[in-house]
Amino acid sequence: MNTIHKSSGATDTSRREVICRGFRSAAGLLTADYLLAADHLLARGLADQTRPDKVPGRVGAKVKARSVIQVFLWGGMSYIDTWDPKPAAGYNYMGTLSAVIPTNVPGVQIGGLFPKLAEQADKFSLIRGMTHRNNGHETAAYLMQTGHTPGERLAYPSVGAVFSLFKSPEHKGVIPPYVVLTRSHGRFSEEGFLGPRFTPFATGGDPNAQRFEVEGVIARGITDDRQKARRKLLTGLNTMGHAMAARQELANTEEAKKQAYEATAAFTWPAAGP
């Protein structure tokens, strides 16, 4: 069952397919279905490690999260309205959103705005015992993202950059390991001292649009023929680049450009086989 079967005539999964798939899992994905699926996967992966007996039918199964989605609200949503209501504290504390609902986990209540999540509370972990004693959105976000207090001599990388540092050896394909919707945030560079290889890839574009176009990967309104023609023009006009082709600085930038072309090839150019 686990053997990779290669029949004659069948090709391996094409690179285009792999990239498209990888990309959907990395960025194109903010449909509710997908989020839930990924969440589910993550929850199960964690559940398997911690309490295999509680997951019917999956005892001993090794399910691992393949990607992680972090939704970071910058302190935007109050915990008392959502995950950690304090109904006993009364109106002065709870305000108008004082309704709480029981969940399918005995003893756990969450805010009344989350009826669907309340039905699935056995599939997520909730941490209520944590605070950071930091009043500023800016500095608190840095602390939460990096695990370091601001003001140290170094700017530390955020968790996504650390993740991609350790995961990049096994990460395949042209889609960056760390993707943010839609732009990078905040005062502190998210790659920190790890440098620009660990800068998150910012999708740009509008995820709410009918067709979510990732900035830079799909050139809107540029046909493949025109794309080819203007790249040829770029090569033809690259007078200084040709004169200095031996310079390492230009070789580096040409290499980066080649990788960029490869990333776009998966989306805008007809696939020419694997």
């Binding site: 500023g136 700017a155 042209v174 960056p176 945030h185 005062r187 910012a202 799909i218 203007r230």
Partner: protein, 289 residues
């Protein structure tokens, strides 16, 4: 109740000397005055080395963040001379820049003349460096006649910079744009020079080559429209375009390539964005050389 009397405060400089601050004195001013005195050699050395690094791509002490006893300057006489000059000029940075850019050392072309590994450490040719993020977007906006939005969500209320301000004029590292972040502008979380990073990564190319952000500027920017709709002859349009983007006239070969593209583009107006697209994506535009 009358306000409590504010007592003079004792402050300690990084070199250990103390000073008494009067209640009405801004400690930052006192610190700034201490920073630029000859009895503080560290600042002088550091800023001299950094200005040299900004202009010539490599510090006399290399890397500029790594100033310590056992990392000697490549040319200690030069460094000492420049320190003297900065102090003698009353820490006037403009005067100091003039001294360096008018020197013989600053004049060589970026075509390397020597293969010797010591050549780089001794500034034998001008180094190739990608334009800083702010300079790059300002140049693109100047050419296309467009602007970018620079904002900061932190601290509230959100900050918005007026559209006519160039990126190089933004004083605060937290006021930024996706472009500036992508192209490695320093977030200024620390005082380190290496927070700015101009190394090329594929995502930057995706943005330059394919993004709607840049494409919109090329297609709709009034700057390019003015050149292409000026009613000039095609070869004059190409001249103006080259002078605008690369500050030089096209070579004979380039003129032929461009003319051919203008003839073959369908619809023809594609040429008006594709030719500048090719020019702003050439290393001659993207790099200091």
């Amino acid at each position: 109740m009358p306000p409590a009397r504010i007592e003079p405060q004792i402050a300690v400089f990084p070199d250990g000397t103390t000073i008494t601050l009067a209640p009405n004195q801004d400690p930052r001013e006192v610190f700034a005055d201490w920073l630029i005195t000859p009895r503080n050699p560290w600042f002088t050395r550091s800023i001299v080395n950094r200005v040299w690094y900004w202009l010539l791509g490599r510090g006399i002490i290399h890397e500029p963040d790594d100033i310590r006893e056992d990392n000697p300057p490549s040319n200690s006489e030069l460094l000492a001379y420049l320190e003297q000059e900065l102090v003698a000029g009353g820490y006037d940075l403009k005067r100091f820049y003039r001294l360096i850019v008018s020197s013989n050392t600053y004049q060589p072309s970026s075509m390397p003349r020597f293969n010797d590994p010591r050549a780089e450490a001794n500034f034998a040719s001008y180094p190739l460096r990608r334009l800083d993020a702010e300079v790059l977007i300002d140049a693109i906006n100047k050419i296309t006649g467009t602007t970018d939005l620079y904002t900061s969500p932190i601290p509230e209320p959100f900050t918005y910079i007026p559209a006519d301000k160039p990126a190089i004029a933004i004083a605060d590292g937290s006021i930024t744009s996706p472009f500036l972040t992508l192209f490695g502008r320093s977030a200024r979380a620390t005082g380190m020079e290496n927070e700015r990073n101009n190394k090329p990564v594929p995502a930057q190319w995706l943005h330059m080559l394919n993004s709607s952000h840049i494409q919109r500027k090329l297609e709709q920017g009034p700057g390019l429209k003015a050149i292409f709709d000026s009613g000039r002859r095609p070869d004059e349009i190409v001249n103006v375009l080259y002078l605008t983007v690369l500050s030089r006239l096209p070579t004979h070969e380039e003129r032929k390539t461009v003319a051919e593209y203008m003839r073959s583009a369908r619809p023809r107006r594609n040429a008006a964005s594709d030719i500048p697209w090719a020019l702003i994506n050439s290393p001659e535009f993207l790099y200091r050389h």
